[in-house]
Amino acid sequence: MATQPRTLAEKVWDAHVVRRGSGDEPDLLYIDLHLVHEVTSPQAFDGLRLAGRPVRRPDLTIATEDHNVPTTDIDQPIADLVSRTQVDTLRRNCAEFGVRLHPMGDAEQGIVHVVGPQLGLTQPGMTVVCGDSHTSTHGAFGALAFGIGTSEVEHVLATQTLPLRPFRTLAVTIDGELGTDVTAKDVILAVIARLGTGGAQGYVIEYRGSAIDAMSMEARMTVCNMSIEAGARAGMIAPDDTTFAYLASRPHAPSGAEWDAAVAYWRTLRTDDGAGFDRELVLEADSVGPFVTWGTNPGQGLPLTGSVPDPAAIADESERTAAERALSYMDLTPGTPLREVAVDTVFLGSCTNGRIEDLRAAAEVLRGRTVAGSVRMLVVPGSMRVRAQAESEGLHEVFLNAGAEWRQAGCSMCLGMNPDQLAPGERSASTSNRNFEGRQGKGGRTHLVSPLVAAATAVRGRLSSPDDLDEES
């Protein structure tokens, strides 16, 4: 029987349908991997307890502590009692329901979206969910991975399935070669600026094209990670030899004959020729330069060579009002060159840019240089394993010698749930994913940047790319 050409997302969807819905009813999809953290799970476990339900597949579930954990003095109990209660609650729940947990201080602890891939638990063609919108990260492996709310967390714990309505598909094609000092982060910020914060609402994005093919797995994870910032439910990249090479030595990757069977299947996970996308966006790689945000949503970004925009020039009323509010909150004046914007804090880390390649890239810029006296720089590895790897390469010494702080693993300054926060009015260049009002601490002002821009900015004290340092040295 001839089958209709299908997109990658449709293939993964079809392979997980437990029961087709009839009429308006959603399809019931099987979930291959459920990642759990302390913030969005306590009420879900409570729900199970109240209903007397077990976790259906603890062997497809894994938990880590990330959002609340401090990144200093981790041998001490968490000082914030409310945070400590939340972490303790996760520990009790995991013990009671038989879920594997990597607690603070454990060698495998880290941000949930760094831990899954590095263990080899995230594999092509899987469905992956987590009570966290940045679950889209795992789509870099050709998995269908998306964030869910706490009710859905409870639903997956109880049934290992989710009722879901099909998504629409959006192809984002990026062809050509990226320029020097242009990273996956710049690419995705440019894509989000093009799509707008809500532009991909209801879509699963498939990133494709020669620029994506040339990216490492970690770079692909950075791209997929921020799909949600354009409103998309998920972002995906078809698996290829880069993917298989990354997986080959991982603890949970298949081996022997099972590896061969898996790879044979994984190679079928490509969008068929002739398959249609509901929408397409094309971006030339050489048109992307170092990119930074100026506003209070991730779609409000511009090339670093640009200037703070003038809201008066924006035709759409709702966009104009949003830009006016953003500039007022960010305390920026239209027309100011972005390179002149001085920052107080630089944050290198998060599920977007807290992996070893991110640390290597930033360290390369900082080697032999010094963080400006007016700037504090936090370097926070995405996991304890990333931290150990960085230390084995001597990267921590580069950061420390430059005057940066070398921290333990966690979500840290990406969001204001742990001690790493901006003070009111403080301005940051941050490799994280959200520049919402108050995201990094009440009254804090965030500019989203790549690890290279973060490092150069730390040295110069103003938003900068590594190029700016060469000119001044």
Partner: protein, 198 residues
């Protein structure tokens, strides 16, 4: 879940677009492990401004929020829905909702009613000109009425049915556990488990 058929309450005009879930409830309020009591975190930063709409008398007790486009973007935190519900909101009207927020709302009995932006503008004008106006939202007919104004809203039929019946998703799914058993029996062997590898 309580069934939702119709609701009448004071309408609150929130003239802001891109109301992300960090604004609906900042992360600092997410540390709790309880399911209730999130009302104090609702719009916490904005509520520190005495001029914010929820601090103005006729709107303080509102239960129908009329917001700008792209409501509920960003973080998946269901706490955003809990905060709105705990405060007393039963309905949010917007011309565009973020997917995760809309899904979370439907599971918690908060109606995310999607209206045309032109109708949202009409509602804003009415609620601002006549503060304290009651808005009647009828899920059976998918209409919003306020004074002389009647506008329709969209909500997907499945969510509507579940809201009208007050049905719990997990119980619905467990009716099909035989399908889940069958599917599990067919999963390839190479798929990973989280069982610790020695």
């Amino acid at each position: 879940m309580e069934p939702f058929r119709s609701h009448t309450g004071v309408g609150v005009p929130l003239r802001r677009s891109y109301v992300d879930t960090d604004q609906i409830i900042p992360a600092v309020y997410l540390k709790r492990v309880s399911r209730t009591g999130f009302e104090d975190g609702l719009f916490a930063a904005w509520r520190s401004d005495p001029g914010f709409v929820l601090n103005l008398e006729p709107f303080r007790g509102g239960s129908v929020l009329v917001a700008g486009p792209d409501f509920g973007t960003g973080s998946s935190r269901e706490h955003a829905v809990w905060a709105l519900s705990d405060y007393g909101f039963r309905v949010v009207i917007s011309s565009r909702f973020a997917d995760i927020f809309r899904g979370n709302a439907g599971k918690q009995g908060l109606l995310a009613a999607q209206c045309d932006q032109a109708d949202v503008e009409l509602l804003w004008k009415l609620l601002e000109n006549e503060p304290g106006t009651e808005v009647a939202v009828d899920l059976t007919t998918k209409t919003v009425r306020a004074k002389g104004l009647t506008v329709s809203f969209a909500v997907d039929d499945y969510t509507r049915w579940r809201l009208l019946e007050g049905l719990d998703d997990i119980a619905l799914t467990l009716r099909h556990s035989d399908f889940i058993d069958t599917f599990e029996g067919s999963r390839p062997n190479w798929l990973p488990t989280t069982t610790v590898v020695q």
